[in-house]
């Protein structure tokens, strides 16, 4: 037989042996391995099989020479080093075990079975904090769930417990050092920083679908105090709600209330499909893409006056948009990101049943009637109304206050010209 044919034959024999072993036919497995050994006694795969066989029989002393020869013949195979580490562990040879694990990890630093064993090694050696780092790295190196061997589940859960306990202890220590947070402004960003470090909050970046303006901070919810003029709008809450309810009470308004999501079917926007052209999320526009909805403004004159006084974003043919947003009972707006971070979005809550919520990035808030907020809609956000009543809010576009006047003018021109060109 040629060497290649031998190689194939050995693979077949060892695969058959694995199957036999998996089906509990140990003696068949042993016979197949012996047959492979007769053909190629120095083959690293054969040596490895012999070593594993001895380990299964709880005989690391016999296994060790086989596994050591295997790594001598194939020193670049991480799995052979891992098996040798396992053997040395059973023998109580801690130094030898670590040496073999480090060889495996030097060849393949993200080899998660070796990371797991190294983490347990550190724990056994009384180095719990170093173990946490390796457990954490192990969790980061795992393949996606469908590819995970089910027998690994307890180890993964254990690693998660260890990492979580460590974060909690570190969080407590940092908390002690810093004293309690009173959630004042000075502390808000820093609390966010700690939470991200401890894995309690994810880091979200601004991901505009159309225009990304660089060097702007990604702020989920802006400070309300940055927008003092919102006082007037908030004070108009009752007035605006009254005008909206009057519109809704008029049966003739039906056609004026339109689905918010409305795009051609061949656009690759399938996450919107359930809401596309649906009145589950609908709008009564006061201004749309920079154009006044005059008849609507006339029906809501006091709302119109409030909008007149508000510093809305203005881009010819594109902005502002101002509308009453109606989210029907049991309706969810899926996570999505907006078009450009040069714009911010402001909500003025008008009618809020319980069971509604709004998330921007890592922060979830609940609308409170008459309390406006401003958020960056290019950070992933979602909204829900899990109640049995409709939810009504006013939504308006604002400029991002971090743009200079010259930059606003530039953005105004750029967006208008791009729209003219027909880019989007």
């Amino acid at each position: 037989m040629t060497a290649a044919a031998d190689g194939n034959r050995i693979s077949q024999l060892l695969e058959s042996a694995d199957r036999a072993q998996a089906n509990g036919r140990s003696s068949d497995a042993a016979r197949l391995i012996a047959e492979a050994r007769a053909i190629a006694p120095a083959d690293s795969r054969v040596l490895n099989a012999l070593g594993l066989q001895a380990l299964r029989e709880n005989d690391p002393t016999s296994a060790r020479p086989h596994l050591e020869q295997a790594v001598a013949h194939a020193p670049r195979e991480p799995v052979l080093w891992l098996n040798l580490a396992q053997c040395r562990r059973m023998q109580g040879d801690a130094a030898g075990e670590l040496g073999a694990l480090d060889q495996a990890l030097a060849l393949q630093p993200r080899f998660y079975p070796a990371l797991l064993q190294k983490a347990t090694w550190l724990e056994r050696q009384g180095k719990p904090k170093q173990a946490v780092h390796v457990y954490n790295f192990f969790l980061h190196c795992l393949p996606p769930p469908p590819q995970l061997p089910p027998q690994l589940k307890p180890a993964i859960e254990y690693a998660q417990r260890i990492v979580n306990a460590d974060r909690a202890a570190l969080g407590a220590l940092i908390g002690q050092r810093l004293g309690p947070s009173d959630h004042e402004t000075a502390r808000a960003r820093f609390d966010h920083c700690i939470d991200a470090f401890l894995g309690r909050r994810r880091i979200y970046t601004s991901q505009p679908t159309f225009m990304h303006f660089p060097k702007l901070p990604a702020i989920e919810f802006f400070e309300r105090s940055d927008f003092p003029w919102l006082d007037a709008l908030e004070a108009g809450t009752d007035v605006m709600r009254e005008e909206l309810l009057a519109v809704l009470a008029d049966p003739a308004s039906g056609a004026e209330i339109v689905p918010y999501v409305d795009y051609p079917d061949d656009e690759p926007l399938d996450h919107w499909r359930p809401l596309n052209r649906s009145k589950h999320w609908s709008a009564y526009y006061l201004l749309k893409d920079g154009v006044r909805a005059n008849s609507h403004l006339a029906r809501c004159p006091r709302t119109a006056a409030l909008l007149e006084a508000a510093p809305l974003a203005d881009v010819p043919g594109q902005a502002p948009t101002a509308f009453f947003s109606m989210l029907q009972p049991r309706t969810r707006i899926p996570p999505h990101t907006g078009v450009t971070n040069t714009r911010l979005v402001c909500h003025v809550p008008l009618v809020i049943p319980s069971g509604c919520g709004f998330r921007v990035g890592s922060e979830t808030r609940h609308w409170q009637t008459g309390k406006a907020w401003v958020f960056d809609d290019t950070i992933e956000h979602e909204a829900w109304n899990d109640s049995n009543e409709p939810r009504y809010i006013l939504i308006i576009d604002l400029w991002n206050p971090y743009l200079t006047a010259a930059e606003r003018e530039w953005v105004r021109t750029a967006i208008a010209v791009i729209a003219e060109y027909g880019h989007e």
Binding site: K129, I174, L178, R187, E407, T413, A414
Partner: protein, 415 residues
């Protein structure tokens, strides 16, 4: 592996034969048969089968896509477009349909519509996903069309944006220029990606405005003194320098492999992670004096670092991100041969001796010395000015707390 793949093909053929025998009127079976006819050039025969198939199952996008292909072979392009639209209605991310729609729009002279279809096609390919080989030529065409559209848009914008620039001649519109460059896909968007601690809501600024750091004037004024001291330190021989990168090796994919434990990137520390190196400071008294006005990034156990950074000829520092965006890094170039360069995010700068700059090292950056002589830069750490003094105190307490909790040697490493 190969044998297995072949046997799968055989299995498929066998199953198809079986399906034909058992369900010749099944629309999916008819679709398969039509595709075989298309492969041998019998478009009319294929179309006949597909008409029947779309009638009995009008909701299956793959049948509409085959029908579009048959109509294409028959040069019936308007009907092909209708079939493609039906396909996309059922599956808006059907890549082949998006690409083919763009091709048809292009042929009709609808270049902007084509650009939109091609853009949709390119967007439906998730990053890292390999596209089947037969689609590659069409995908390249889509990329070229999107590219051409970006160039046309750029020209269209130019005059109008120039007017804004003239009107605001005194204003700094660098951010707007960068915005346009990413919009036109000339540059990717780079973000701050600290490997250790991310301080949120800080703008990611590659190079900070020099005028925000007036104390750098003193440092720049001392450039000659600092350079002379660096030169005299180096004259003592290569052993004076420490390798900047030093970690356990052995990883063949380590981007730092060629610099690890190597003096090709050597440093001479005056401060090393908050520890003053007294004997080194004693060798550079004028440099120490020039640092009198330096507001260091001071965190016990972590910073500041102040060092001469010596990059050997023909040496490149690979793209990487720093540890902590509460820190910025200052470079004061001392000796800069030709063919050296530095990139942070999408921006490149050249070092000019005596001209300091400040950058955010948590944005991907790289450096190179392609010359035949040494490049020497003086590097110091400072606070990111976007942090308030209360925030600095908090970061200081937290970072040293983490260091104490885990013990030395377990915290930060650049990636």
């Amino acid at each position: 592996m190969h044998a297995l793949a072949e046997s799968k093909v055989d299995d498929a053929a066998r199953l198809l034969r079986q399906a034909r025998a058992e369900a010749p009127g099944n629309p999916l079976v008819m679709n398969e048969m039509a595709r075989e006819l298309l492969q041998v050039g019998n478009a009319a025969g294929a179309l006949e089968l597909l008409e029947t198939a779309t009638k009995s199952n009008p909701l299956e996008p793959s049948i509409w896509l085959s029908k579009a292909a048959a109509l294409h072979q028959l040069n019936r392009f308007d009907e092909e477009m209708a079939a493609l639209d039906r396909t996309l209605l059922l599956n808006p991310r059907e890549l082949w349909a998006l690409l083919q729609k763009g091709v048809l729009q292009e042929a009709k002279g609808d270049t902007r519509g084509a650009a939109q279809s091609f853009r949709n096609a390119l967007r439906s390919v998730p990053p890292g996903v390999k596209v089947p080989a037969p689609m590659l030529p069409l995908l390249r065409r889509a990329q070229q069309a999107a590219e051409a559209n970006n160039r046309a848009l750029e020209q269209f914008l130019e005059t109008r944006l120039d007017a804004v620039r003239k009107q605001h001649a005194q204003a700094d519109l660098d951010r707007a220029d960068q915005c346009l460059a990413t919009l036109l896909q000339k540059e990717p968007v780079y973000r701050s990606m600290p490997s250790f601690l991310y301080f949120p809501r800080i703008p990611a600024i590659e190079f900070h405005d020099r005028s925000a750091f007036p104390w750098l004037d003193d440092l720049e004024a001392a450039t000659d003194d600092i350079r002379r001291e660096a030169e005299s330190v180096l004259a003592a021989g290569p052993e004076t320098l420490d390798p900047y990168i030093s970690h356990p090796g052995g990883n063949p994919h380590d981007p730092w492999k060629h610099l690890n434990n190597s003096r090709r990137w050597g440093v001479f520390y005056l401060w090393n992670e908050s520890v003053p190196i007294e004997q080194n400071i004693a060798r550079c008294p004028r440099t120490a004096q020039a640092l009198a006005s330096w507001p260091p990034w001071d965190i016990p156990g972590s910073g500041p670092t102040a060092m001469f950074s010596v990059l050997q000829p023909r040496t490149r520092i690979p793209p990487h991100c720093g540890v902590n965006n509460s820190r910025l890094v200052v470079h004061l170039p001392l000796i800069v041969p030709e063919r050296c360069g530095f990139r942070v995010g999408a921006q490149r700068r050249e070092w000019h001796p005596g001209k300091a700059f400040v950058f955010d090292d948590t944005i991907e950056h790289e450096a190179w010395n392609d010359s035949d002589s040494e490049r020497i830069v003086f590097i110091i750490d400072i606070w990111n000015p976007n942090l308030s003094s209360a925030e600095r105190d908090h970061v200081r307490a937290m970072t040293s707390g983490i260091g104490e909790y885990y013990g030395p040697g377990t915290t930060m490493r650049e990636t």
